[in-house]
Symmetry: C2
């Protein structure tokens, strides 16, 4: 495998545009300089459009989990309760983080199945400080109903935390309209930046609720907000400077394309994958519901009968296409294709073509071309 | 200021070699792939030489503070005590982190003055789990006595944590010989990599002492060790992939130069700065002691009479040389020059020359050239 000749189709890290990669090779600057402050300020402004929010935005040097840690740790002290909702790996991560600092009341649904808002509301207890959910559950390819859960949070006066890590900038994600107090994304998803930055938006309501000296010292949301508001804008600890260069460049690329146009492109790419899968008799893994839908940023499909995970993904990798398998209990049962960021029509067609090649080789399908044809219909429409 | 024509002489982030910057522009890879695992394994092995240790090494995606947070948070639970020693900003950070998760017993010395081992030992109480100190206090340019404090830690059966962030790979730093259970560095210092990675070495003794589900969720040392030991080597959360590319390249550069040769070069550069300062009647800020010395990675000097911080550093910056000021209560009182990583003789001479230019312009010195001459004597010897 030569990494410069490999197409990365996993749901993060995603393919990064060459101009964004090149932006990282500028020399270092002092992180306390006006030059760094200007980059940070520019990113904060453009990210507001990505998040569809007027809330405060901070950038942390760490993965998306660092942002989840900051949100939960800042709100949940030793005697506090948080309601967490799970139907996949990352929802379960919220439960773990809540239990690290306080107590999680976890409302669990089978992986890949829809939330039931009634069951969630009935689990609310007196004094629950926050509700945390994952909007786009990367592990199973489902979109969960943030708008509906947001109403429950507001009714019970709980801070509403949404992991939008693989969603923001790909799926529709209306931070302000849905009443999301803390929204989180990671650089390596729809922003199409290398991994290493978490972006967190924080409402005034959430800021007022943040506890002092709570949670992780490094992932301290209050400290990050305080530093971001300085002139020049700063971070409390030394930031990953090259990733800020990359983020700024990637945000300018997204602005050039148009934030709405980008989301529409991503939606169409995912639809093409789904149509191709249907044409190839490959089943979707997640279950659609009244308030839940298939993700536009990651498509999770069952591995067809007649082929193993190893043969499917291993075979594709030998052809230069990297797709993801299932996590935890879904290992060997599903495979996942990401369609975020700067993923192109050509990337999708090459991926489907290669998938067909491998399926045909193993005798799972007899005729190649039906998947690509179905995808083309969507992409060309 | 054009950042591509500016010489960064601050004590981190430091100048990064072009081949290290270029290494970051490779495409992304999956962080769960054998390809990533091979990079991580290679880095872990070479870092052992940098740290002079056979201990386990993990790399975290975050600043050096993330590593400090992981060390203290992993050991210090709600009812635990940690002894912290301070004579500058970063020692005080240990105190803050200790108080975040448990209770710090802080032994404080005036900023820039030597530790008194007797006073430190007499502050030890029953049940103190760990002692934390900074080896090279970046804020004041002093080297603190790790060997001596290590003996106290061992005698009292406390885990010994040393912040070697601006030290390891620059000053002499003997992790195993000095009995350092947890040593920490950051990528943007002597490793000459962009900021964004923390490297932590952990002894078996420290691993046995780490508490479960303790401290920060993101900066969880136990989780990082567990993932690093997997085959292929992994990180618990998505790592900052380009910084791993850069780290690997920088470690290979250091290996080519020779780890000992690099430390000797850095020592000589700092000595040149000190000799130049003496020739220019500029006073060192830190106070040398029986067990304390001037740092070889950052030289902290008093701002001479007759010039302000603004004029000194602002004037140098206009000439394309960025040096640091003082932090917190030392703002306006000292300035600092870093000599880590791939800093060259030419960089030092250009810096001193520019310093002389500014001092002469403000009438602080009457004749230029004496600083450069003094530095050359050291560099040419």
């Amino acid at each position: 495998m030569d990494i410069e000749d490999t197409l990365l189709m996993i749901p993060g890290p995603v393919k990064v545009a060459p101009r964004v990669l090149r932006a990282m090779s500028k020399p270092m600057i002092s992180h306390r300089s006006p030059e760094f402050g200007a980059i940070y300020a520019d990113c904060r402004e453009l990210l507001g459009k990505f998040f569809e929010t007027k809330n405060e935005i901070v950038i942390m040097s760490g993965s998306g989990t660092c942002g989840m840690d900051a949100a939960v740790g800042g709100l949940v002290g030793r005697d506090d309760k948080i309601l967490t909702i799970t139907n996949g790996k990352f929802g379960e991560r919220f439960t773990e983080i809540g239990n690290r600092y306080g107590k999680s009341i976890s409302v669990d649904f089978e992986w890949g199945t829809p939330f039931d808002p009634e069951r969630i509301e009935s689990a609310m207890e007196e004094g629950v400080r926050a509700i945390a959910m994952v909007h786009n559950e990367t592990s199973v390819g489902i979109i969960n109903p943030a708008r509906e859960i947001g109403k429950i949070a507001r009714k019970h006066d709980a801070i509403f935390i949404v992991d939008g890590i693989s969603s923001i900038g790909g799926n529709e994600f209306l931070t302000d309209e849905w009443g999301i107090d803390i929204a989180i994304t990671g650089s390596q998803k729809c922003l199409a930046v290398p991994p290493g930055l978490a972006v967190v938006s924080v409402s005034q309501r959430a800021m007022d609720a943040l506890r002092d000296n709570s949670g992780s010292y490094y992932a301290d949301l209050k400290a990050h907000i305080k530093s971001a508001r300085k002139k020049p804008a700063q971070t409390p600890f030394t930031p990953a400077v090259p990733l800020f260069y990359a983020l700024q460049e990637a945000l300018h690329m997204a602005e050039e394309e148009g934030f709405d146009a980008r989301r529409e492109r991503v939606r169409r790419l995912a639809q093409a994958v789904r149509e191709a899968a249907t044409a190839l008799n490959i089943e979707m893994f997640p279950v659609k519901g009244k308030f839940s839908d298939y993700s536009n940023t990651v498509t999770a499909m069952k591995i067809p009968n007649g082929i193993t995970d190893d043969k499917l993904r291993g075979g594709m990798k030998k052809q230069g296409i990297v797709v993801s398998g299932g996590q935890s209990q879904l290992k060997g049962k599903i495979f996942r294709i990401g369609t975020m960021g700067v993923c192109s029509q050509g990337d999708i067609l090459r991926t489907i073509q290669t998938l067909e090649l491998i399926l045909a080789r193993e005798g799972v399908i007899t005729r190649q071309g039906t998947g690509v044809e179905a995808a083309c219909k969507v992409l060309d429409s």
